[in-house]
């Protein structure tokens, strides 16, 4: 994730104060998120694989 994209996402998330006071921390958080999401996107999967936990309806 490049610096401008990270800053735009941080502003959209409301992290202006963090951007001003802790820009290195915002950049580190963006980099960490980018690494793990890239890895997850590379994993193979089938459309029939549902999220966990599944939706369960319980009679009350």
């Amino acid at each position: 994730m490049d610096e401008r994209t990270a800053e735009a996402i941080a502003r959209r998330a409301g992290l202006e104060r963090a951007l001003e006071a802790f820009p290195a921390d915002v950049a580190a958080a963006a980099s960490s998120a980018s690494n793990v999401t890239d890895r997850v996107r590379r994993l193979s999967g089938t459309p029939s694989s549902e999220p966990w936990p599944p939706m369960v309806v319980v009679r009350k």
């Binding site: 992290l15 963006a30 998120a33 997850v40």
Partner: protein, 467 residues
Amino acid sequence: MSELHWMTAHVAAAAIANREISPIELVEALLDRIERLDPKLNAFIRVDAEAALREARAAEAEAAQRRSRGPLHGVPVGIKDIIDVSGLPTTCHSKIFENGVAATADAECVARLRAAGAIILGKLSTHEFALGGPSFDLPWPPARNPWNRDHHPGGSSSGSGSGLAAGFFPMALGTDTGGSVRNPASACAIVGTKPTYGVVSRRGVFPLAYTLDHVGPMTRTVADNALMLGVLAGHDPLDPASVQPPKSCDYVKTLEHGVRGLRIGFVRHFHETDMPADPEVAAGLDRVALTLRSEGADIIDVTLPALEDFSAVNRVILQSEAWSIHSEWLRNRPGDYGRLARRRLMSGAFIGAGDYVLASRQRSQMIGDVETALRKVDVLLCASSMDPPCRIDEPEEIERTYMRQARAPFNVTGHPALAMPAGLSRDGLPLSVQFVGRYFDEANLFRVARAWERAAGTDALHPSLAG
């Protein structure tokens, strides 16, 4: 009889029931030790001496009348400070809650310990919000490792691990979202279990990530761990993730059955190719496998998905769910977090909803993969930490080794997992091993762990620093 501070929960409970020691004598001895040694270790955020002595006097009076509240009557316990104890603030080791109000009720896990007769000694250090640590920029200093104070004790249940290894209490509560019970167990040469997801209630525990959070017992011996989990396990209708364990929660009964005839799957690729471990860690794991084979188990190589894939799925889910909890504070009070927690918690802001769902779908497949493996074997054996605990004052080394672990896979899948000592390194630092069981089959997990403990004598390991 052993020194009071090294007494196990089992031995202490029996000695109190037989009137060989009094709970007051035990609590006073531990409080004295805490007063002398904790300034060097920082295991406690708050010692509640007055309440502990009051509880000890009540327990003594009941014992004198041959009355017992339960299997932990008069036995002291420490509580990680993200877990509510009635009358005490829950700080989460953070400035965010530095001046927090006292909890009005015990967390369900604390209530169960109290009902079984345990005495609460106080609240224990943690990584900030069970995630950011070890950190020196928080209102309280980080816990240190009794095996070598210059090294970290693991985390996030750092005070629980440190205090157990130092002989401050025989039992502690920890929580585990990416390995936080098992990391300090590995770093401090104690026993820590992350039970099957839903077996121990999370009500009254400050959440880190809802679908990954577990509460678990931490002790110095396998038998105490089994005893403690037996008290903690059970359905809580007020915790939406809670389940009624379908099997008996008497985990002590089969402890000494040995491993003859059990099939143990050795997940070598975690530490041999996925994240090559320190050679002493790898040698320790081989030693455990050989010993269990000599005790009569079949050791079979097993392959699971790559460790980095489990870790990525764990991180995406953890950071997304944690962001939903912390986003308002991170927007308005970012300076009230320590640097590590701020960085790790803000990551969730950069993960999209689609990636969270994708990770949750991968999680389903990983559950299937582990389930398939556990149909062929009874228990898995694998690494916990890939390195002995590093120095606490080297942030780069902390950062490098933080993710070099094989605990997060079983937060992703919810299978029960136990970490315990595998010996000591040449430098005298703890080495560790992890066992993983089928859902709700903690009994077999404890059985294997006890067989290794008995053969290797790991329950006799105590650091000399603690005196």
